[in-house]
Symmetry: D2
Subunit: 340 residues, 4 copies
């Protein structure tokens, strides 16, 4: 059954597997100290316009988030996250497991706004409360929305004023960067965030995220923290090779662009068929609001998640496209939606 459940249902883009295959017999240093990792890191630093940034490759998003956040904070320091933030909801308390409170703020659109941060910081004013120190955002957010350049600049200014770190979870950063609605370049993000990661897993890689630590003070002895959390892969070069391949000729954006276009096609088709969206998504996840009988019918042919049931019994579903999404499948799906 064709799946629109997520963007990690596949097994990695053929070009990346080819890169692994053609180099498999080579002997290199282990633990990410090989030349492929170095080349990939150099490419990323260059494309981020961040010559003094540090790039580390970690096998997945949760492991990246928990390793980075627990390295950056002292024990009494806390994270501010959208209530819909991945670390708050869907990582089994992994940040709290390293000792840090994650403080949620309401986020109907998945985003955090400066006044919310200001209020949280003001409320946490003495040593009987945690000290908010890091703002965790996702770009795009967990529901596919995007921070604009102005919004990110405002967050940065506020973080500077309040002494906070700004950390961006870029599990789907490719989708953000290649969205038509986006006005934030990779150098913008690198100059505005203390650290962020460029997701590989959800954009064609077999696995791997590239964590970019921009703030030099946060770079200190980070590999110790990685090893302690089990985040140094023995054959680290496998990630270096993939990110090198993704970033050497624009493949990373190309794959994300395909995912976005397929999602956009679906979104437009569903709207054209007369249905609403929970909101208009500019990235590779869309959230149609459909009557239950239609959802039931679609579930017989396709895999996807039910997201939420509205008060009027209509159902919000989530459809995710990826680099691997087949345009014919999209068109068939739209036919099913329109069919009566």
């Amino acid at each position: 059954m064709y799946s629109f459940k997520n963007d990690y249902s596949d097994g990695g883009h053929p070009l990346l597997i080819e890169a692994l295959a053609t180099t498999s017999g080579q002997m290199t240093e282990g633990y990410g100290e090989d030349h492929y990792c170095k080349q990939a890191a150099a490419l990323i630093r260059e494309q981020c316009g961040k010559p003094d940034g540090e790039v580390h490759f970690i096998s997945g998003g949760t492991l990246t988030n928990l390793t980075a956040i627990s390295s950056f904070l002292r024990p009494h320091e806390a994270v501010i996250s959208a209530a819909s933030g991945h670390i708050y909801v869907h990582e089994t308390g992994s940040v709290e497991a390293t000792g840090h409170k994650v403080f949620p703020v309401d986020s109907p659109d998945g985003k955090i706004y400066p006044e919310q941060i200001t209020r949280v910081v003001a409320e946490h004013h003495f040593e009987h409360m945690v000290k908010p120190k890091l703002v965790y955002i996702s770009q795009p957010t967990e529901i596919g929305s995007l921070y604009s350049k102005t919004e990110l600049q405002d967050l940065r200014s506020l973080c500077d004023a309040l002494g906070l770190y700004l950390f961006a979870d870029g599990a789907r950063l490719g989708s953000a960067l290649s969205s038509k609605a986006n006005d934030l370049s990779l150098p913008d993000i690198a100059s505005l965030c203390d650290a962020f990661y460029i997701g590989g897993t959800k954009n064609g890689a077999l696995f791997g995220e590239a964590l970019v630590i921009c703030n030099r003070a946060l770079q200190l002895e980070f590999r110790y923290m990685m090893k302690q959390r089990g985040a140094i892969l023995a054959k680290g070069r496998l990630m270096g090779l993939q990110f090198k391949r993704l970033f050497e000729d624009g493949l990373y954006l190309e794959l994300a662009d395909h995912a976005n276009r397929m999602a956009s096609l679906m979104q437009q088709g569903i709207v054209d068929a007369g249905y609403e969206m929970l909101f208009h998504s500019p990235t590779n996840q869309i959230f149609p609001v459909l009557p239950e009988e239609l959802v039931l019918r679609l579930e017989k042919e396709y895999q996807f998640y039910r997201w939420e049931t509205l008060d009027d019994s209509r159902i919000v579903i989530r459809l995710v496209c990826s680099w691997a999404t087949d345009q014919e499948a999209v068109e068939s799906f739209l036919s099913s939606v329109s069919r009566n």
Copy 2:
């Protein structure tokens, strides 16, 4: 320069990459809930003779160790490890980072003996001290030695008597299982240990360890613990595929056997050339004791680690063979050793 530094210098066995390549376009469930993981787990359960065992795939050894141990223990419970144990020495305090003391016992040969455990437990007799609860062993040990069946049975009996868990780190379990000196089968290990892992990374896999939880009480909600530690890979099937391939027709043992034979060849050749071994190794790591001038000469042609400098200035080096080790390279190395 040819490397005998370790058994994870390569990029994965071609057959495993092929398995990944031929399935890359398929869509499956994420997070290790796909049919490849299920097939691989079934194969492993069967070959372990453990139908009620649970098998989980985790990307590396440190992450496996810390996730398993922190799941099995209550906060005041501690681990007994050889002073040379990987978790004690070379995982950056990853177990302690989850809150648990690792108590070291002397281990000239890399192994732990019952009387040591008995003594540690006797000494930790009240609530002002941690409570030893888990015995961590490695098979083979970090210096390549092996527990015999009798030794493992004795540890098991003692653990039963004292209420301890027995956990075996099998990062190089293939090398143990296929060693000529070995008398412990996979079912033996599965029946004697509460949990252990079968290392893939150091035996041809791109990455991945198969954790087998034999003790049913320790299986409860283990995937929560995996997710919390960042140990659930989104495209979990990549490990399922590899372990399926490794275990469906004996490839796992075949690769390890090659590594052992190459190491044995080197060991014999070096002894024949008139040098001592730190001890006779039955597995894929060997520890020749060489004069410094020879070491200096060999370092110009080969990569390997210096292990230790003895009092008489002779140097112990570590040579590691793997599934990928080339017999010609071994023979060239031996020529270099013998050349004067």
Copy 3:
């Protein structure tokens, strides 16, 4: 300046200090293993109707909460707390520092209701989310309200149905037990909660809370956990002596009754003077809503906390009475309120 800031401004009730003074020369076992602790524990078990309960004395509330909760839970298990709960707001993330997420639910009246718990548990349905396992309530709540017997019974039934622990923070339990609005006896609480603590610090003790672990499964090796968290006092008998004195002839309730009566007097007087309460408090904390000019005037004569500023600029203040509150001071305060 007379203080209504809190109920721990004093230095301990004279009868308790006398008990310490008259026994100071005696030699006893350390670490709470003396006969005073045993006698106090026996009194508490008896008055709780819980002969198989375990009683432990710990120097303060935060230390009690973090030690108990981290002992009761496995790493992936989480706490449900009112958003106003002390552990969520005012303990600097102490529970998270032991690795556990605290999940907040809205609580305008300081209390948690069954439907909130049901919803949180339903929402946390798989291993990508924490597993709610313990419900943390405070009796009285942080804003002085009380759970009724029916309410606590309903929470217990739900916890049984959902497999949750019920833990009550009784920092001000005396004030609850002696409130005119209360219908929950100490045996009720002991039979309905898995564990709870009887606060000494805020009811006349120099320091010390009596943790009662009712659920036998949670008693196992608890003193190990106490020692690990620094919660075993060397001269533990100091707490045993105080709790013995408080519980041997009803002093505990007598002191709390005085605090409640003084608070009630203040509350009535302020209402009589024409002002509103944020809500009617049945315990020793009251929350008058006053115009700012009155607050400013009162601040020149008395110490108390501003709690909140309402939209119409009126200010909610918190006034706390204790066993030590002087009725004359209360009357003077009321005169000041009424004076024009």
Copy 4:
């Protein structure tokens, strides 16, 4: 039965209880922000010659150690301790429970020597191992021996050279300071250590240790860490009052001097009776080596700990004197030893 088991069998010195009694009715700020704590801190800063030191009062030694150490270190940083160090042996893994490895070094005399530290640091040379960062010593050591001024200066120099913190556990610091064998003043200790604590519990206080943080970088936001670990006492003034009383007219040293003199008397008497000491102790704990029949006889009249059984069946016992030790009891004990 008269006890020589420890120096915390009593209930606090009468003068300290009197200080608590005479002030019990006063109302002060809570949480250690009262004027008694300020006065006590000022006295200690002055007597330490450390005007910019920070002084915090914490209810016990384990809580002080774990709060301080976990505040000072980043997650991958570790502690070097004597294998006999209190945090390594007798605090139930409390430091590991905060995530930090404690690395033991052999210490027949309870002390750590520079060459041991140098070796541990040299061995821990890369990110696969913890990074040693804090040296934990006890003054006096757990077996009553003392660091000399030269020894402490050497440790300081080495710590400076290697970038390590030096932390001294002064649970029995009074006994060290007033020992005839001591040449280290309080200002010496304060100038040589990054932090240390002055033990109250084992020198007459009801409870309480005064942590002195000398290194200004380590002072930052320490009260947050205290609150998070449950180490801020609500009625903090109780410790302020006691330390004020202990330090305002030399009472602290006077009490310790009595303990030392009583211990010295016992030691001399036992030697005069023809028995050996495990070693000659200059502080308030002594370790006689006695035949078992004598030990059995003494156990009928006195309480004390058996420390160790020697190979020749002789038994080492530990006798501890305190400010409260009665000279007549000492003399009776010595009579019992000599009696045949």
